[in-house]
Amino acid sequence: EDQVTQSPEALRLQEGESSSLNCSYTVSGLRGLFWYRQDPGKGPEFLFTLYSAGEEKEKERLKATLTKKESFLHITAPKPEDSATYLCAVQAIGGSQGNLIFGKGTKLSVKP
């Protein structure tokens, strides 16, 4: 069964304290892995798509990496405005079209 597990469930950081969020996945074949940011009361905001092991993408203080079993979202010198829930999702080869399988998310709080 295709599955996505995110850890930790919640993470509290001080402003400027770098850290990483983990997304472990189990799929028969990976079509793509996706990171989203979700603020309270809003829909998920797209961050990155990764397609193959070894791929990396960056955007401002965020960097996403991908291996054959997991992905990391690295946050460098976070600011309070980075506080949000970060969601990871995968799309499996052979799965129903468009079916993104989501983890439960990591709730990040950055204190000034």
Binding site: G32, F34, G41, K42, P44, F46, T49, S96, G98, N99
Partner: protein
């Protein structure tokens, strides 16, 4: 990326009633998707809606409970029928947004509370 709007943004409904949620996109898209986000749970795909064909439902979701319309390439509706408190959730529509077709962009969601 596409700009997606949903109506209503939130609603409180009585059990046994039905609610229709609208999703509007600012550009033509082939595929639209409906997801549910229950409290403390992952987003789960309900169905895929293609214009001109019947929606395709995921395991555990049925057309009688969640009928979907897709009258054109920029609009879709999801109806939550005969609601119970267990239907209290956030309902989200999404569209495919890149050439490869995998990346999805989400609307703001509809927050539904059933009493």
């Amino acid at each position: 990326s596409a700009v997606i709007s949903q109506k209503p943004s939130r609603d409180i409904c009585q059990r046994g009633t039905s609610l229709t949620i609208q999703c509007q996109v600012d550009s033509q898209v082939t595929m639209m998707f409906w997801y549910r986000q229950q409290p403390g749970q992952s987003l789960t795909l309900i169905a895929t809606a293609n214009q001109g064909s019947e929606a395709t439902y995921e395991s555990g979701f049925v057309i009688d409970k969640f009928p979907i319309s897709r009258p054109n390439l920029t609009f879709s509706t999801l109806t939550v029928s005969n609601m119970s408190p267990e239907d209290s959730s956030i309902y989200l529509c999404s569209v495919e947004g890149d050439r490869r077709g995998e990346t999805q962009y989400f609307g703001p969601g509809t927050r539904l509370l059933v009493l």
